[in-house]
Amino acid sequence: MTGPTDNLVAEALDWVRAHRVDRETMDTPVTAETDLLTVGVLDSLGFVQLMTFLAERTGRTVDLVDLDFDDLATVRSLCRLYTSKEGADVG
Protein backbone atom coordinates (compact mmCIF):
# COMPACT_ATOMS: atom_id res chain seq x y z
CA MET A 1 0.00 0.00 0.00
CA THR A 2 1.43 3.37 -0.96
CA GLY A 3 1.53 6.18 1.57
CA PRO A 4 1.05 9.91 1.03
CA THR A 5 4.78 10.44 0.49
CA ASP A 6 4.91 7.74 -2.19
CA ASN A 7 2.00 9.31 -4.06
CA LEU A 8 3.61 12.71 -3.93
CA VAL A 9 6.95 11.27 -5.01
CA ALA A 10 5.35 9.79 -8.13
CA GLU A 11 3.79 13.14 -9.05
CA ALA A 12 7.01 15.00 -8.28
CA LEU A 13 9.01 12.64 -10.47
CA ASP A 14 6.66 13.28 -13.37
CA TRP A 15 7.14 17.02 -12.81
CA VAL A 16 10.94 16.74 -12.62
CA ARG A 17 11.15 14.65 -15.78
CA ALA A 18 9.07 17.26 -17.63
CA HIS A 19 11.07 20.23 -16.33
CA ARG A 20 14.63 18.96 -15.93
CA VAL A 21 17.25 21.38 -17.25
CA ASP A 22 20.20 19.02 -17.77
CA ARG A 23 20.22 18.95 -21.57
CA GLU A 24 23.66 17.38 -21.42
CA THR A 25 22.41 14.30 -19.48
CA MET A 26 18.79 14.19 -20.58
CA ASP A 27 18.98 10.44 -21.22
CA THR A 28 19.99 9.70 -17.61
CA PRO A 29 16.99 8.25 -15.75
CA VAL A 30 15.71 10.22 -12.77
CA THR A 31 14.46 8.23 -9.77
CA ALA A 32 13.28 9.16 -6.30
CA GLU A 33 16.86 8.63 -5.09
CA THR A 34 18.70 10.53 -7.83
CA ASP A 35 21.01 13.21 -6.40
CA LEU A 36 19.39 16.18 -8.08
CA LEU A 37 22.23 18.61 -7.41
CA THR A 38 25.17 16.41 -8.30
CA VAL A 39 23.57 15.28 -11.56
CA GLY A 40 22.34 18.82 -12.19
CA VAL A 41 18.79 17.76 -12.99
CA LEU A 42 17.42 20.97 -11.48
CA ASP A 43 18.97 24.39 -11.00
CA SER A 44 17.97 26.98 -8.41
CA LEU A 45 14.96 28.16 -10.36
CA GLY A 46 13.97 24.56 -10.96
CA PHE A 47 13.98 23.86 -7.22
CA VAL A 48 11.84 26.94 -6.60
CA GLN A 49 9.35 25.79 -9.24
CA LEU A 50 9.30 22.22 -7.89
CA MET A 51 8.64 23.47 -4.38
CA THR A 52 5.80 25.62 -5.72
CA PHE A 53 4.37 22.50 -7.37
CA LEU A 54 4.67 20.51 -4.14
CA ALA A 55 3.01 23.31 -2.16
CA GLU A 56 0.13 23.40 -4.62
CA ARG A 57 -0.31 19.61 -4.49
CA THR A 58 -0.24 19.38 -0.70
CA GLY A 59 -1.62 22.73 0.41
CA ARG A 60 1.45 23.07 2.63
CA THR A 61 4.38 25.44 2.49
CA VAL A 62 8.00 25.05 3.51
CA ASP A 63 10.07 28.05 4.51
CA LEU A 64 13.35 28.13 2.58
CA VAL A 65 15.05 29.39 5.72
CA ASP A 66 14.28 26.06 7.41
CA LEU A 67 15.83 23.96 4.65
CA ASP A 68 19.08 22.07 4.99
CA PHE A 69 21.29 21.22 2.06
CA ASP A 70 20.39 17.53 2.52
CA ASP A 71 16.67 18.28 2.20
CA LEU A 72 17.25 19.13 -1.45
CA ALA A 73 19.22 16.03 -2.31
CA THR A 74 16.50 13.83 -3.80
CA VAL A 75 12.87 13.96 -4.84
CA ARG A 76 12.05 11.69 -1.91
CA SER A 77 13.77 13.92 0.66
CA LEU A 78 11.96 16.98 -0.68
CA CYS A 79 8.58 15.27 -0.64
CA ARG A 80 9.07 14.19 2.96
CA LEU A 81 9.14 17.88 3.90
CA TYR A 82 5.63 18.30 2.55
CA THR A 83 4.13 15.17 4.08
CA SER A 84 5.80 15.04 7.48
CA LYS A 85 3.79 16.06 10.52
CA GLU A 86 6.43 18.62 11.57
CA GLY A 87 7.93 21.52 9.69
CA ALA A 88 5.54 22.32 6.88
CA ASP A 89 2.75 24.81 7.48
CA VAL A 90 -0.67 24.29 6.06
CA GLY A 91 -1.15 27.01 3.47
Binding site: R23, L37, T38, D43, L72
Partner: protein, 273 residues
Protein backbone atom coordinates in the same frame (compact mmCIF):
# COMPACT_ATOMS: atom_id res chain seq x y z
CA UNK B 1 13.41 54.91 -10.63
CA UNK B 2 13.49 52.78 -7.49
CA UNK B 3 16.68 50.82 -6.81
CA UNK B 4 16.89 47.07 -7.13
CA UNK B 5 19.89 44.80 -6.47
CA UNK B 6 20.59 44.12 -10.15
CA UNK B 7 20.53 47.80 -11.09
CA UNK B 8 22.63 48.70 -8.06
CA UNK B 9 25.24 46.07 -8.93
CA UNK B 10 25.56 47.23 -12.52
CA UNK B 11 25.72 50.86 -11.46
CA UNK B 12 28.41 50.21 -8.85
CA UNK B 13 30.47 48.14 -11.30
CA UNK B 14 29.85 50.34 -14.36
CA UNK B 15 33.55 51.02 -14.98
CA UNK B 16 34.34 47.29 -14.94
CA UNK B 17 31.38 46.59 -17.24
CA UNK B 18 32.64 49.12 -19.78
CA UNK B 19 36.27 48.15 -19.33
CA UNK B 20 38.42 46.16 -21.72
CA UNK B 21 38.45 43.04 -19.53
CA UNK B 22 34.69 42.63 -19.67
CA UNK B 23 34.49 43.64 -23.31
CA UNK B 24 36.83 40.74 -24.09
CA UNK B 25 34.88 38.28 -21.92
CA UNK B 26 32.48 35.80 -23.49
CA UNK B 27 29.66 38.21 -22.62
CA UNK B 28 31.30 41.20 -24.25
CA UNK B 29 32.27 39.30 -27.38
CA UNK B 30 28.91 37.56 -27.73
CA UNK B 31 27.11 40.90 -27.40
CA UNK B 32 29.28 42.66 -29.95
CA UNK B 33 28.81 39.80 -32.42
CA UNK B 34 25.07 40.51 -32.37
CA UNK B 35 25.53 44.00 -33.80
CA UNK B 36 25.33 42.86 -37.46
CA UNK B 37 21.93 41.32 -36.65
CA UNK B 38 20.46 44.69 -35.65
CA UNK B 39 18.10 46.30 -38.14
CA UNK B 40 18.40 50.11 -37.98
CA UNK B 41 17.42 51.81 -41.23
CA UNK B 42 18.30 55.24 -42.60
CA UNK B 43 14.57 55.98 -42.80
CA UNK B 44 14.07 55.45 -39.04
CA UNK B 45 13.24 58.65 -37.16
CA UNK B 46 13.49 57.31 -33.58
CA UNK B 47 15.57 54.32 -32.48
CA UNK B 48 15.63 53.05 -28.90
CA UNK B 49 18.19 50.78 -27.19
CA UNK B 50 16.67 49.29 -24.02
CA UNK B 51 19.31 48.34 -21.47
CA UNK B 52 21.91 50.26 -23.45
CA UNK B 53 24.66 49.71 -20.87
CA UNK B 54 27.73 51.76 -21.78
CA UNK B 55 26.19 52.96 -25.04
CA UNK B 56 28.65 51.24 -27.39
CA UNK B 57 25.89 49.69 -29.56
CA UNK B 58 24.27 53.11 -29.96
CA UNK B 59 27.37 54.42 -31.71
CA UNK B 60 27.22 51.49 -34.13
CA UNK B 61 23.53 52.14 -34.78
CA UNK B 62 24.26 55.84 -35.38
CA UNK B 63 26.77 54.83 -38.05
CA UNK B 64 24.06 52.87 -39.87
CA UNK B 65 21.18 55.32 -39.33
CA UNK B 66 22.86 58.72 -38.92
CA UNK B 67 19.66 60.73 -39.20
CA UNK B 68 17.73 58.91 -36.45
CA UNK B 69 17.11 60.32 -33.00
CA UNK B 70 18.75 57.85 -30.61
CA UNK B 71 17.38 57.06 -27.15
CA UNK B 72 19.31 54.86 -24.75
CA UNK B 73 17.29 53.44 -21.85
CA UNK B 74 19.38 52.46 -18.83
CA UNK B 75 18.29 52.22 -15.17
CA UNK B 76 21.84 51.90 -13.78
CA UNK B 77 23.13 55.40 -13.08
CA UNK B 78 26.79 54.52 -13.43
CA UNK B 79 26.26 53.03 -16.88
CA UNK B 80 24.00 55.93 -17.87
CA UNK B 81 26.83 58.35 -17.21
CA UNK B 82 29.26 56.34 -19.34
CA UNK B 83 26.73 55.99 -22.16
CA UNK B 84 25.90 59.69 -22.11
CA UNK B 85 29.57 60.49 -22.47
CA UNK B 86 29.90 58.03 -25.35
CA UNK B 87 27.06 59.52 -27.43
CA UNK B 88 27.20 63.11 -26.23
CA UNK B 89 28.46 64.35 -29.58
CA UNK B 90 25.50 62.87 -31.52
CA UNK B 91 22.79 65.46 -32.18
CA UNK B 92 19.47 64.57 -30.57
CA UNK B 93 20.84 61.51 -28.76
CA UNK B 94 20.21 60.95 -25.07
CA UNK B 95 20.12 58.35 -22.31
CA UNK B 96 17.12 58.13 -20.00
CA UNK B 97 16.49 56.59 -16.59
CA UNK B 98 13.78 54.09 -17.51
CA UNK B 99 13.25 50.34 -17.82
CA UNK B 100 11.42 47.73 -19.90
CA UNK B 101 8.26 47.94 -17.82
CA UNK B 102 8.19 51.77 -17.97
CA UNK B 103 10.02 53.16 -20.99
CA UNK B 104 8.73 56.71 -20.46
CA UNK B 105 8.24 57.24 -24.19
CA UNK B 106 5.12 58.41 -26.05
CA UNK B 107 2.88 55.72 -27.50
CA UNK B 108 3.60 54.82 -31.10
CA UNK B 109 6.74 56.93 -31.24
CA UNK B 110 9.48 54.35 -31.90
CA UNK B 111 10.41 53.13 -35.37
CA UNK B 112 12.99 50.61 -34.21
CA UNK B 113 13.59 49.22 -30.71
CA UNK B 114 16.36 46.82 -29.88
CA UNK B 115 17.89 45.30 -26.78
CA UNK B 116 21.12 43.34 -26.33
CA UNK B 117 21.58 40.99 -23.37
CA UNK B 118 19.19 42.89 -21.08
CA UNK B 119 15.65 41.47 -21.19
CA UNK B 120 16.62 38.57 -18.91
CA UNK B 121 16.84 41.14 -16.10
CA UNK B 122 13.23 42.31 -16.54
CA UNK B 123 11.08 42.02 -13.41
CA UNK B 124 7.79 41.52 -15.23
CA UNK B 125 8.31 40.11 -18.73
CA UNK B 126 4.64 40.45 -19.72
CA UNK B 127 4.62 44.12 -18.68
CA UNK B 128 7.90 44.67 -20.50
CA UNK B 129 6.55 43.13 -23.70
CA UNK B 130 3.33 45.16 -23.45
CA UNK B 131 5.30 48.38 -22.98
CA UNK B 132 7.34 47.61 -26.10
CA UNK B 133 4.08 47.14 -27.97
CA UNK B 134 2.81 50.46 -26.68
CA UNK B 135 5.77 52.56 -27.82
CA UNK B 136 6.30 50.97 -31.24
CA UNK B 137 5.00 52.91 -34.22
CA UNK B 138 2.33 51.10 -36.29
CA UNK B 139 5.04 49.96 -38.71
CA UNK B 140 7.74 49.75 -36.04
CA UNK B 141 10.12 46.85 -35.54
CA UNK B 142 11.83 45.32 -32.52
CA UNK B 143 14.73 42.94 -31.98
CA UNK B 144 15.47 41.62 -28.50
CA UNK B 145 18.44 39.34 -27.86
CA UNK B 146 18.68 37.90 -24.35
CA UNK B 147 19.73 34.93 -22.23
CA UNK B 148 17.36 31.98 -22.03
CA UNK B 149 16.50 29.34 -19.46
CA UNK B 150 19.37 26.95 -20.12
CA UNK B 151 22.36 29.30 -20.11
CA UNK B 152 25.59 28.56 -18.30
CA UNK B 153 24.79 24.93 -17.52
CA UNK B 154 28.45 24.01 -16.98
CA UNK B 155 28.89 26.64 -14.28
CA UNK B 156 25.52 26.18 -12.67
CA UNK B 157 25.96 22.44 -12.30
CA UNK B 158 29.45 22.85 -10.83
CA UNK B 159 28.76 25.73 -8.49
CA UNK B 160 25.16 25.50 -7.25
CA UNK B 161 26.05 22.91 -4.58
CA UNK B 162 28.88 25.19 -3.42
CA UNK B 163 26.64 28.25 -3.16
CA UNK B 164 24.00 26.21 -1.33
CA UNK B 165 26.50 24.91 1.22
CA UNK B 166 27.84 28.36 1.96
CA UNK B 167 24.73 30.51 1.74
CA UNK B 168 21.80 28.15 2.15
CA UNK B 169 18.71 27.63 -0.01
CA UNK B 170 16.92 30.83 1.02
CA UNK B 171 19.65 33.11 -0.28
CA UNK B 172 20.55 31.08 -3.36
CA UNK B 173 16.99 30.45 -4.50
CA UNK B 174 16.10 34.06 -3.75
CA UNK B 175 18.90 35.17 -6.08
CA UNK B 176 17.62 32.84 -8.81
CA UNK B 177 14.28 34.62 -8.75
CA UNK B 178 15.95 37.95 -9.62
CA UNK B 179 16.63 36.82 -13.17
CA UNK B 180 13.98 36.20 -15.82
CA UNK B 181 14.75 32.79 -17.33
CA UNK B 182 12.51 32.04 -20.29
CA UNK B 183 12.32 29.08 -22.59
CA UNK B 184 11.76 29.77 -26.27
CA UNK B 185 8.13 28.72 -25.91
CA UNK B 186 7.54 31.01 -22.93
CA UNK B 187 9.11 33.97 -24.75
CA UNK B 188 6.98 33.28 -27.83
CA UNK B 189 3.78 33.23 -25.78
CA UNK B 190 4.61 36.40 -23.86
CA UNK B 191 5.43 38.45 -26.94
CA UNK B 192 2.68 37.01 -29.14
CA UNK B 193 0.12 37.83 -26.45
CA UNK B 194 1.54 41.34 -25.98
CA UNK B 195 1.86 42.16 -29.68
CA UNK B 196 -1.15 40.51 -31.34
CA UNK B 197 -1.14 42.86 -34.34
CA UNK B 198 2.46 42.10 -35.26
CA UNK B 199 4.37 39.16 -36.61
CA UNK B 200 6.45 37.73 -33.78
CA UNK B 201 9.18 35.17 -34.31
CA UNK B 202 11.42 33.70 -31.64
CA UNK B 203 14.54 31.69 -32.35
CA UNK B 204 17.04 30.13 -29.97
CA UNK B 205 20.55 28.83 -30.24
CA UNK B 206 23.41 27.68 -28.05
CA UNK B 207 26.83 29.28 -28.24
CA UNK B 208 29.74 27.76 -26.32
CA UNK B 209 32.51 30.16 -25.46
CA UNK B 210 35.91 29.39 -23.99
CA UNK B 211 37.98 31.52 -21.67
CA UNK B 212 40.42 31.21 -18.80
CA UNK B 213 39.20 30.85 -15.23
CA UNK B 214 40.26 34.42 -14.58
CA UNK B 215 38.45 35.61 -17.68
CA UNK B 216 35.17 34.01 -16.61
CA UNK B 217 35.57 35.01 -12.98
CA UNK B 218 36.17 38.62 -14.01
CA UNK B 219 32.49 39.01 -14.69
CA UNK B 220 30.36 35.98 -13.86
CA UNK B 221 31.20 35.44 -10.24
CA UNK B 222 31.01 39.14 -9.47
CA UNK B 223 27.40 39.28 -10.60
CA UNK B 224 26.49 36.01 -8.87
CA UNK B 225 28.28 37.06 -5.69
CA UNK B 226 26.58 40.42 -5.59
CA UNK B 227 23.22 38.80 -6.04
CA UNK B 228 23.92 36.84 -2.90
CA UNK B 229 24.64 40.09 -1.02
CA UNK B 230 27.23 38.49 1.17
CA UNK B 231 30.72 39.58 2.08
CA UNK B 232 33.63 38.81 4.35
CA UNK B 233 35.68 35.65 4.88
CA UNK B 234 32.76 33.30 4.19
CA UNK B 235 32.34 34.76 0.75
CA UNK B 236 36.09 34.54 0.13
CA UNK B 237 35.99 30.83 1.03
CA UNK B 238 33.05 30.32 -1.29
CA UNK B 239 34.74 32.18 -4.12
CA UNK B 240 37.86 30.03 -3.75
CA UNK B 241 35.77 26.87 -4.05
CA UNK B 242 33.90 28.30 -7.03
CA UNK B 243 37.18 29.17 -8.72
CA UNK B 244 38.42 25.62 -8.21
CA UNK B 245 35.17 24.12 -9.51
CA UNK B 246 35.27 26.27 -12.64
CA UNK B 247 38.93 25.39 -13.11
CA UNK B 248 38.01 21.71 -13.03
CA UNK B 249 35.92 22.28 -16.19
CA UNK B 250 38.97 23.28 -18.19
CA UNK B 251 39.56 21.71 -21.61
CA UNK B 252 42.43 22.27 -24.07
CA UNK B 253 40.31 25.04 -25.58
CA UNK B 254 39.71 26.69 -22.23
CA UNK B 255 36.87 26.70 -19.72
CA UNK B 256 33.55 26.36 -21.55
CA UNK B 257 30.46 28.44 -20.87
CA UNK B 258 27.45 27.76 -23.10
CA UNK B 259 25.11 30.67 -23.66
CA UNK B 260 21.46 29.91 -24.38
CA UNK B 261 20.38 32.82 -26.54
CA UNK B 262 16.91 33.93 -27.55
CA UNK B 263 16.01 36.40 -30.29
CA UNK B 264 12.54 37.91 -30.37
CA UNK B 265 11.72 39.74 -33.59
CA UNK B 266 8.51 41.80 -33.86
CA UNK B 267 7.52 43.50 -37.12
CA UNK B 268 4.42 44.44 -39.12
CA UNK B 269 2.53 41.43 -40.41
CA UNK B 270 2.97 42.58 -44.00
CA UNK B 271 6.72 43.11 -43.69
CA UNK B 272 8.74 41.36 -46.36
CA UNK B 273 10.36 38.18 -45.07
Amino acid sequence: MSADPIVETYSRRADEYAGAENQQSCWGLATRELWPSLDPRPSDRTIVDVGCGDGSALREVHRRAPGARLVGVEPAAGLRDIAAGRIGDIAGAGVTDARFEDLRLPAGSVDYLYSLMAFHWVSDPAAGAAEIGRVLAPDGRADLFFIGRFSGREFIKATTPIFLRHFGPARVFGAARLRCQLTREEAAKIFTDALPARRVTVREWFDTRYDTVAGHMAWWVRIEGQLLEFGGPARDDCEAEVRAAIGALETPAGVPYTLHLLHVRAEPRDAAR
